[in-house]
Amino acid sequence: MRQKVIVIGGGLIGTSTAYYLAKYGVEVTLVEAKDIASGTSGACDRAIMLQSKNPGPTLELAIKSANIYEKLEDELEVDLEYRKSGGMIIIETLEEMQAMEHMVERQQKAGIDVKLISGEEARKWQPGLSNDIIGSTWWEGDAEVNPLNVSFAFANAARKLGAEIRLNSPVKRLITDNNRVIGVEVSGERIYADAVVVAMGVWTPMMLKPLGVEVPIIPRQGQILVSEKLPSFLQVGILSASYISNKLKKNHEDDKKDPFGVGLAIGQTHSGTLLIGGSRQFIGYDKTETNPEITRKIGEAAIRAFPCLKKVRMIRSFTGLRPYTPDGKPILSPVSGIDSLYIAAGHEGDGVALSPISGKIMAQVVCGEKPEMDIRSFSLSRF
């Protein structure tokens, strides 16, 4: 008999997991509370940036994921707006320069061929950059993709392989029997399976808590501005060095000096709009309204980097909740003490980049195969 697996959550991670499981011949049911990409995966940016990853297991994971992305459009037979655009981390101060020199050195050791270039060279790569930028990193391997397309494409491809996709179906609870998960309860109905993968992003802790399992994921809000359409102007994905230092900051106590954690992340979509982010804030689950003060701070960061943006119109802003974990690494893991239960969540600001590999590894683990990467660094029991 075919193995039967339920995946809870239809974001970048759940849809990818469902796809790879279906590809491995598993009978999959994806259960999503609202709609595909209705959570964080529908409120995020589009970077597949390796430069921004901490050298170590996360970078290794990201490299494998980036390799899958290169062929993913062919595999899924859809346009994902994938583009190997290259990426830059722009540097404004000498202090940032030192930090980036260190980061680049570690990245190079990890096999990513990032270069530090002068402000002048940076302006050659990316016209419009301010003369105040004193330097930048550059790596041609960084890429971008439309995260909505990725979520829908994985879901549709899974469906084509026989997976059942149930939308508008909030899972109420996991059904257990003798320390073993045997299914889920959805609006009064019980669905049974051989295994359950929880891919609920920031909402993951809520599903596990009733079983006495603490999952240390907390929401870290980010805000993004969207501009009117412009002729092609940004050729590369750009982050600021301050974005990196905010991202890698570990303590989730609110930082009094910089409560909004604003650092520039800017790129241009296929349709021509600019996505300009971003902030990092621990303010719980409920505040979805954008904050005018953050909008202003993001605007300032953007204009500092690109003075010409003063004359560009913003048409919208939005917020999303990054699934933060205390050590910045995702959780891709069985749950010890409870059989047949797995977690794939906690990707913070890397879920777009890590979607394909996360799904693939989870499928391998759930099917009892040896995963293509040692997943001990991503275990739940590390906390």
């Binding site: 709609d35 990409a37 005018p292 605007g299 204009i303 003063k310 560009v312 913003m314 048409i315």
Partner: protein, 85 residues
Amino acid sequence: MDDTIICRCEDVYLSEILGAIEEGGNSFPGIKKRVRVGMGYCQGRVCQPMVSNILLATCQRNTRPVLQRAQPPIRPVLLGDIIKK
């Protein structure tokens, strides 16, 4: 094929909206994420009422479909003006 334009800002046609509904889109944000309707310069001011009617006509539900929240800025505004405030 006969088709009607629904979203002028993003060039989205009725057939695409119906396709998105068939795929499971059951709210304005859900359809928008599938086919870009409402993502344009007017932010759905023109097309959202039509999409909402199509949703009402096609969904077997008596509840009103979920609409898009207006997120600031309500009207397009220059970034240079945003940072002045």
